[in-house]
């Protein structure tokens, strides 16, 4: 089985890997919309969706009821509803751009996954092999570049809808995204200054940042959130703005703009926007976890290699065991996913805790607070790193 897989032509293998990753990301993005409803209900002291149940599960004694209360099946009901609903196409829209906007939203959202590592295993020589679709050198820059293309969907959707609410939403969104991109990019600079010490080969690979955080010793094992809290804070705030999450919900602003850029959308096209938003959130959380939360390392100062050692998951010399490699991969992916899911929960937590900013406040925070903070942060860390690594 393994030999058959490794002997496939690279194009087919790449396609299979890509499909596998999409098969995980798409349901996560979908399930997030359900989780959002449930989490918001808990935070507000409501029950949330707790009615839908599939007949076979209703006959199970305790499990079925529990799942029903958790609202698990609402995801299926919601998806079915959105798929089979009438798909309205208003008469006053620019049809071509109106139709392609949801596709433009979802393509960059899923393309960013390609360069994000999500797990690792050790090969025979004890080297870490990251699990990712493409281990390219430009890693994080590629994520930023592709993710920044998602804005076209909002601009096109708002403009093609030919309605003031949509248009205002997309104008605000494009101003917001362009403003916060600067802080987002600047905030990760200290991390890569620190990782790319003099004498090493320069790289922007995310897998390398994780490797750096799993070195032995006190400083080696410190996650970057402890070393660079300001960077992490700026990155997180900019990430909220870039993913259009509350409190930076300019694009939707349902209090004053009906539904913002997707006012005229309905049915499955509407839901594609949401899957794209949650996919952006998932990938953004993943990048945050990799940069600042140690990636797939279970705890600070506890690299995953040590954990594998405790569990006996070590490749013995002279014999390659696929079972051990797979177990290592699955365990690291599980740890990474758990952190990502916590980050997504954090996104929702903030959404239902902090009220939305006004448009002028968003601009002021972005340009007058966050950007200077990011600049000062870069300069201070550049000086510090120059002194330490000299």
């Amino acid at each position: 089985m393994i030999d058959f897989l490794t002997n496939l032509p690279p194009v087919v293998l790449g396609l299979l890997k890509g499909l596998a990753v999409i098969c995980v990301i798409f349901p996560i993005a979908g399930a997030c919309s359900m989780a959002e409803r449930k989490v918001s209900a808990w935070l507000q002291g409501r029950y949330g969706p707790n009615r839908v149940i599939v007949p076979w599960f209703a006959w199970m004694p305790f499990v079925g009821r529990g799942l029903q209360r958790l609202g698990v099946f609402n995801l299926l009901a919601d998806g079915g509803k959105l798929l089979f609903k009438q798909d309205p196409l208003p008469g006053h829209v620019n049809k071509f751009y109106f139709m392609i906007a949801p596709a433009v939203a979802i393509i960059p959202a899923f393309t960013t996954v390609v360069v994000v590592p999500f797990g690792a295993y050790f090969d025979q020589a004890g080297q870490v092999v990251p699990l990712m679709l493409a281990n390219v050198d430009v890693g994080l820059l590629a994520v930023f570049a592709i993710a920044s293309l998602g804005i076209y969907s909002m601009i096109l959707a708002g403009w093609a809808s030919n309605s003031k609410y949509s248009f205002l939403g997309s104008v605000r969104a494009s101003a917001q995204l362009v403003s916060y991109e600067l802080s987002l990019t600047l905030s990760v600079l200290p991390v890569f200054l620190w990782v790319n010490a003099p004498g090493t080969v320069g790289s922007l690979s995310l897998a390398r940042v994780v490797e750096f955080q799993s070195q032995p010793g006190f400083w080696g094992g410190t996650w970057f959130i402890f070393l660079m809290p300001v960077s992490a804070f700026v990155f997180l705030v900019a990430l909220f703005a870039e993913t259009n999450r509350l409190p930076f919900d300019m694009i939707e602003s349902e209090a004053d703009l009906v539904g913002g850029f997707h006012t005229e959308y309905g049915s499955f096209k509407w839901s594609l926007f949401f899957v794209a938003e949650y996919a952006h959130m998932t990938v953004g959380s993943g990048v945050f976890v990799l940069l600042f939360f140690g990636g797939w390392n279970p705890l600070p100062w506890l690299p995953i290699g040590t954990l594998f050692g405790w569990l006996g998951l070590v490749q013995s010399a002279g014999h390659v065991s696929y079972a051990i490699a797979i177990a290592q991969g699955v365990l690291s992916i599980a740890i990474f996913l758990a952190k990502v899911l916590f980050m997504i929960f954090f996104f929702m937590w903030v959404r239902w805790t902090v009220p939305r900013f006004r448009y002028d406040q968003v601009m002021r925070i972005g340009w007058r607070r966050l950007l200077p903070l990011a600049l000062v942060n870069v300069v201070v860390y550049a000086l510090l790193i120059a002194v330490i690594q000299k």
């Binding site: 804005i151 403009w159 248009f167 104008v171 080969v201 790289s203």
Partner: protein, 209 residues
């Protein structure tokens, strides 16, 4: 990599044609939004060509800076200030003629020099061998050997921006005022201006059966 692999030839022609056709679309299109999106397509094709040349860093920068920010700003300005395509006035005919002649001369010179000097006498030396070392070299060269060209290019962009600001001012004080208002963070300005130009046209068109 001195010559293209047979496998790499089809993507090269595909993206080369895409880039050139989209660039032509920018010039030909009368609708400003279509033109801006053609520009975006052209940028993307260019990035794909960089990828085929294994210049991944350049490709990513091309997408990040041009497709992700510059084209967004173009679209933003076009939509916010409702730039109409196909302006009937031709205010700068002499300037247009002179610049057109200059552009033609530049194009001819470019094609001639390409025809004369495009053949490399020897294979290009491989400057970067280690994967990843190119990033550092790139930054180093940019700040030492090529510092002057970089600054010059930046200056050129500044001049272009000033030129646009000046040309924009000529149309009357009303436009300048609305630019300032919109910059001050009052999106309502954009909403009021929606009723003019293209968007009204498309509205009235849609009412005609």
């Amino acid at each position: 990599m001195t010559q293209l692999q047979p496998m790499a030839e089809f993507p090269f022609y595909f993206f080369a044609f895409l880039t050139v056709l989209a660039a032509a679309g920018v010039v030909v299109n009368r609708n400003a939004v279509n033109a801006a999106l053609c520009l975006l397509l052209s940028f993307m094709g260019m990035a794909a060509l960089f990828v085929l040349l294994e210049a991944y860093f350049l490709a990513v920068l091309q997408v990040l800076v041009y497709a992700g920010a510059v084209a967004v700003l173009f679209l933003f300005v076009i939509m916010l200030f409702d730039v109409k395509g196909g302006d009937p006035r031709k205010p700068y005919q002499k300037v247009a003629a002179v610049s057109g002649l200059l552009a033609l001369a530049l194009l001819i010179t470019g094609v001639l020099s390409l025809a004369k000097h495009s053949q490399l006498t020897a294979a290009a030396p491989v400057t970067t061998t280690v994967v990843g070392s190119d990033l550092k070299d790139y930054g180093y060269l940019l700040f030492t050997k090529y510092l002057l060209p970089v600054e010059m290019t930046g200056f050129l962009l500044l001049i272009a921006m000033l030129g646009v600001a000046m040309l924009g001012r000529k149309q009357g004080k009303e436009t300048g005022a609305s630019i300032q208002e919109a910059g001050g963070g009052r999106p309502e300005t954009g909403g009021r201006r929606l009723e003019t130009g293209d968007r009204r046209d498309s509205l009235s068109e849609s009412r005609v059966p």
